[in-house]
Amino acid sequence: METDQTVRKPGWLQIILIGRNPKRTLLRALVLATVCAVGFRLFLLPIRVEGISMLPTYRDKGFNLVNRLAYVTHPPRRGDVVSVRTAGISIMYLKRVVGLPGETIEFQDGHLVVDGHPVFEPWLALPCDWTLAPRKLGPDEFYVVGDNRSMPALLHKQGVATRQRIVGKVVL
């Protein structure tokens, strides 16, 4: 008994769009989508920068990634640019860590002063005239501020953030 089975070869358009084996392509696409969904949610969080508080380091409407695993082994360090969550991670503040737990932070005539000593900040390019009273940070508190301090201090979103609010370190 003979059977007449003709194997239809896939066309070039099909090969380009979905490959020679559509099932395998679908599986690959599903795996890739899962890896992206998990990866971009749990490890590398994509963000869009809005606002001018981090000028000139980060521009308005820029794209970046936040490494959520950056502080698994060590706490945030001075100079790190971190994302600070609000009620969740839909909206976060992009700020630079300038004060560490236990330190006393203040601004004198536009200069950052930590434990009574002025700190040089190479990332600053715009003028600043802030004078803010000293405050000792608690054991779980970090002081975060933007790089653009040319606006009045009250108009610049900055302040003490607890460790739990810091989501991760900005990658790019």
């Binding site: 809005e50 606002g51 609000t86």
Partner: protein
């Protein structure tokens, strides 16, 4: 195997249907907050009647003794008490704006042990027509169940970052 799949699908359908018909208090509060954001938003000039209707609709979300506390040290401090006062403040704000888009993001609702009150934490994003930047503010809503309805009894601002003070 096919029967099992059908049974599982049916079970899932009944389960989803039950929660659709009997939503949890958390879900009810989340839906109310969504509606509140929708009612608070407006675009363009509002007709006087529409203004009145929307203000009344907004007031239906609040208890008569509602209290709204804005406490942003160094920036703004104010407390408005009572449904009528809150509505007056809302109406005055709407009057002065050309448009407003309110969104409540990352809403988490926690029900109290007694089941008669609940707290909702969220981030409010407010877009004012004509303004360049959005206004972002964390808020805490306290709800109370009054005659089977969840009403807002308190709204408080939460400071995401605590600012250093200007020297006295």
């Amino acid at each position: 195997m096919k029967k099992l799949a059908v049974l599982l699908a049916l079970g899932a359908l009944i389960y989803a249907g039950y929660f659709w018909l009997h939503p949890t208090p958390e879900k009810i509060i989340q839906d109310r907050l969504k509606e509140l954001a929708k009612v608070a938003s407006f675009q363009g000039e509002e007709a006087p009647l529409a203004k009145l209707y929307n203000a009344q609709k907004l007031s239906s979300f609040c208890s008569p003794a509602v209290e709204v506390t804005v406490n942003l040290p160094g920036r703004h401090n104010a407390t408005v008490s009572g449904r009528d006062e809150v509505m007056k403040a809302v109406a005055a704000t709407r009057q002065s704006l050309r448009g407003l888009q309110v969104d409540f993001l990352d809403v988490t609702v926690q029900l109290a042990r007694d089941g008669a009150s609940a707290t909702a934490l969220l981030t409010a994003r407010v877009r004012v027509t004509g303004d360049r930047d959005d206004y972002i503010q964390e808020l805490r809503f306290t709800f109370q169940k009054v005659d089977g309805e969840w009403l807002i009894v308190e709204v408080q601002t939460i400071e995401t970052l605590t600012l250093l003070q200007h020297p006295e």
